[in-house]
C-alpha cells in the first residue's frame, strides 16, 4: 500500500510543475504590462516604474522569475491581488468555504436523489419509469446550468416567491461575524432565531443548479452498475433463497454497485468547480468561482493566476485522494 501511495504521489509532482509552468506562461502572454495595469492610466515617473518592476521581480531574467515563482508557491505565496493588494491566498481562503458549502449541498442533492433513482430505474428496467428517468438524465446531463439557474430564479424565486433570489443570507435581518465561513453553521452558532432557516433557503436553488449535472451522471451510473450487479451469481443466490426483492436490491446488489458510483462521485469535483463558476455568478454567491470571473473583469491577473493554481491544486488533490481510497477498497487497482 505504501508503495502504491508513493508512486501515486510521485506521479502528481510533474503535473504540479506543468501546472505552474502553464499559469506562469499564461499570465506572461496576457497583453498589457502588469505594472502599467497597477499604475493606472495616469502614468508615473520612470524611477518609480523601475522600482515597481524590481518589487515584482520583473527586472529578472524569465527563467529566474519562474524559479522564484515556484519558490513562492512552495512557501504558500500565491501572489498579491492587484485590485485589493491582498494576498491571493488570503482572499481565496476567505471565499472558499462558501464554494465548499455550495458544492457539498449540490453533491448531497445529487447523491440523495441520484442513487435511489438509479437503483429504482434498474429494478424496473424497461418500464415507463425507467425510460422517463433516463430521458430526464440525458436532459440533466445536457443542461446549460446557467440557463437552468435563471429559470429557477424566474419561477421558484420570483413568481412563486418560495426562495430568495441571490446571496447566502438576508443581510438586513441577520448579521454575525463569520466563524467557520460556512453560512449554515455560522448561522447556527450565532443563535439568532430563523438564521439557519434563512441560510438554508438561500442555499436550496444554487445547490439544485450545481447538483443537476452530477445528479444525471450519478443516476445513470447507478443504474448501469446495478444492472451489471443484478446479473451476478450472488444476486441470483440471494433471490433463490427467497429473500424479498427489496432486500436483494437494497442490500446485496446496491452495496456492490456503489463501488463504481463512489468513484464517479469523487471524479465530479472538477465538474463541481466548473459549475460553481456559473452558479455563483448567477446567484451572486460570494465564492471563489464568482471571484475568479470578477478578477478577469478587473484585469487582476495575479488573482486569476493564483486562483486557477489553487482551484486546480485542490481538484488534483481530491482526485488523488479518490484514487488512494479506491486503491484501499479495491486491491486490484493497487497492484495493477
Amino acid at each position: 500500500m505504501l508503495r502504491f501511495l508513493l508512486r501515486r504521489l510521485a506521479l502528481t509532482i510533474p503535473t504540479f510543475i506543468a501546472l505552474m509552468f502553464v499559469t506562469f506562461v499564461a499570465i506572461r502572454l496576457v497583453p498589457g504590462d502588469p505594472v502599467e495595469v497597477r499604475v493606472g492610466e495616469r502614468g508615473i515617473s520612470p524611477e518609480r516604474l523601475a522600482m515597481f518592476r524590481h518589487e515584482l521581480g520583473l527586472d529578472q531574467p524569465v527563467w529566474k522569475q519562474f524559479i522564484d515563482y515556484g519558490g513562492q508557491l512552495l512557501h504558500g505565496d500565491f501572489g498579491t491581488s492587484l485590485a485589493t493588494n491582498q494576498k491571493v491566498l488570503t482572499e481565496f481562503a476567505a471565499l472558499f468555504p462558501a464554494t465548499i458549502e455550495l458544492s457539498l449541498a449540490g453533491m448531497l442533492f445529487a447523491v440523495l436523489l441520484g442513487i435511489p433513482a438509479g437503483t429504482l430505474a434498474a429494478a424496473k428496467r424497461g418500464t415507463w419509469f425507467d425510460q422517463t428517468l433516463m430521458g430526464l438524465s440525458v436532459t440533466g446531463y445536457s443542461m446549460p446550468i446557467f440557463w437552468w439557474g435563471l429559470l429557477l430564479i424566474m419561477f421558484v424565486a420570483e413568481r412563486w416567491g418560495l426562495t430568495p433570489v441571490s446571496g447566502r443570507i438576508d443581510l438586513i435581518k441577520f448579521y454575525f461575524e463569520p466563524v467557520t465561513g460556512f453560512m449554515v453553521i455560522d448561522a447556527w452558532l450565532s443563535g439568532q432565531a430563523g438564521a439557519v432557516k434563512d441560510a438554508l433557503h438561500h442555499l436550496v436553488l444554487p445547490a439544485i443548479v450545481l447538483g443537476t449535472i452530477p445528479l444525471a451522471v450519478i443516476a445513470r451510473m447507478t443504474r448501469s452498475a446495478m444492472l451489471e450487479v443484478l446479473g451476478e451469481d450472488y444476486v441470483r443466490t440471494a433471490r433463490a433463497k427467497g429473500l424479498p426483492p427489496r432486500r436483494v436490491i437494497g442490500l446485496h446488489a446496491l452495496r456492490n454497485a456503489l463501488i463504481p458510483v463512489v468513484t464517479i462521485i469523487g471524479l465530479q469535483v472538477g465538474t463541481l468547480m466548473a459549475g460553481a463558476v456559473l452558479t455563483e455568478t448567477i446567484f451572486s454567491w460570494p465564492g471563489v468561482g464568482k471571484w475568479l470571473i470578477e478578477s478577469i473583469g478587473r484585469r487582476d491577473y495575479p488573482a486569476l493566476q493564483g486562483g486557477v493554481m489553487l482551484i486546480s491544486s485542490i481538484v488534483i488533490g481530491v482526485n488523488l485522494l479518490v484514487d488512494l481510497l479506491y486503491g484501499l477498497i479495491n486491491p486490484r487497482i493497487r497492484h495493477g
Binding site: 440525458v138 446549460p144 440557463w147 456559473l278 482551484i311 486546480s312
Partner: protein, 297 residues
C-alpha cells in the same frame, strides 16, 4: 469508409441497429432540422439577425399578450427579431461545435498515435510528455481552463474555439492512444510489420481505421459538450461578443429583463438545451449501433 456506397451492407447494418433506438432517431431528426436551419439561415430567418426595429423594442412573442405575427418569438432589448437571432445562433453554435470537434479530432489522432508510434527511449519520452500534458489539462476544471485561455487570448469567437479545443483535446488523445495500444498487439498489425509496412502507413492505414468506432462516438458527443462550453463562455461575457447572435451571449444580455420579458431568457436557453439533448441522444444511439460492447446500460 470511402467505399461504403458500393458495398452497402455495413451501412445498412448500422442503420438497422441505430433505428432500434427511438430516442436516437428523434435526436438525429432534430439535429438534422437544426443543421438545415443553420445552413439556410439567410433564407429561413424572417429578418437579419442584427436589424433593429426601433418601433418594436422587446415586443412580446405571438402567444403572449400584445404579441403579433410580425415577430413570432418577439424582439430583444434592441428591437432585433428573436427568431432570426436564434436561427443564426444555430449557425454559430454548430460551427463552434464542429470546429472544436474537427480540430481536436485531427490533433487528437496525431498526438494519440505519436504516443505509441515510436520505439525506444525517444518513443517513451514522447509518450510520457504527451500523456503528462493531457493529464494536466484534465486536472484543471474544464470551464476554469477555458476561462484562463480566453483571458489570455482575449474574448472572441475564434479564441472560444481554441479554448474549448484545448479543454477537450485530452479525451481524443487518450482514446486514440488506448485503442491504438490495444490494436498494436494484435496479429494483423504484427503481420503488417513483418510484411515491411512503414511506420506512417502502419499507423494511419493499418491501425487507425480499427480505432475509429469509439472515436466517432466521442466526436459526436464532443460536439454537444463544445456547444455547452462555448455557450457558458458566451454567457460569462468571455465568448463571442455582441452583437453576434450567439445563444450564450444572448442569454447574458437578457438577464436584466428576467422579470419584465421572460421569453428573452427562456428562448436562447431552450435552443441550447434542445440542440445539446438531440446531439447527445443521437450520439448515444451511434454508440450502441457502432459498438454493442460500449452500451451504457
Amino acid at each position: 469508409m470511402a467505399d461504403l456506397p458500393r458495398d452497402e451492407t455495413p451501412l445498412r447494418a448500422f442503420w438497422a441497429a441505430f433505428r432500434e433506438n427511438r430516442g436516437a432517431v428523434i435526436g438525429l431528426a432534430v439535429v438534422m432540422f437544426i443543421v438545415a436551419l443553420a445552413l439556410l439561415a439567410d433564407v429561413v430567418a424572417p429578418y437579419s439577425p442584427n436589424e433593429q426595429f426601433r418601433d418594436a423594442v422587446r415586443a412580446a412573442p405571438v402567444w403572449a399578450e400584445g404579441g403579433s405575427t410580425r415577430f413570432l418569438l418577439g424582439t430583444d432589448s434592441l428591437g432585433r427579431d428573436m427568431l432570426s437571432r436564434l436561427i443564426h445562433g444555430a449557425r454559430i453554435s454548430l460551427f463552434i461545435g464542429l470546429a472544436v470537434m474537427g480540430v481536436s479530432f485531427v490533433i487528437g489522432v496525431l498526438l494519440g498515435l505519436a504516443c505509441v508510434a515510436f520505439k525506444g527511449a525517444v518513443g517513451q519520452a514522447i509518450d510520457v510528455a504527451i500523456t503528462r500534458v493531457m493529464d494536466l489539462i484534465m486536472a484543471v476544471p474544464s470551464l476554469v481552463l477555458a476561462i484562463l485561455v480566453v483571458a489570455v487570448l482575449g474574448p472572441n469567437l475564434v479564441n472560444t474555439i481554441v479554448a474549448v479545443t484545448i479543454v477537450y483535446l485530452p479525451r481524443y488523445v487518450r482514446l486514440v492512444r488506448a485503442s491504438a495500444l490495444a490494436e498494436l498487439g494484435k496479429d494483423y498489425v504484427i503481420a503488417a510489420r513483418v510484411a515491411g509496412v512503414g511506420p506512417a502507413r502502419l499507423m494511419f492505414v493499418t491501425v487507425l481505421p480499427n480505432c475509429l468506432s469509439p472515436l466517432i462516438v466521442q466526436a459526436a458527443l464532443g460536439v454537444s459538450d463544445a456547444i455547452l462550453e462555448a455557450a457558458a463562455l458566451g454567457f460569462l461575457g468571455l465568448g463571442a461578443q455582441p452583437p453576434t447572435a450567439e445563444w450564450g451571449t444572448m442569454l447574458a444580455d437578457a438577464r436584466e429583463f428576467i422579470r419584465s420579458n421572460p421569453w428573452l431568457v427562456t428562448l436562447p436557453g431552450l435552443a441550447i438545451l434542445v440542440t445539446v439533448v438531440s446531439i447527445n441522444l443521437a450520439g448515444d444511439g451511434l454508440r450502441d449501433a457502432l459498438d454493442p460492447k460500449m452500451r451504457r446500460s
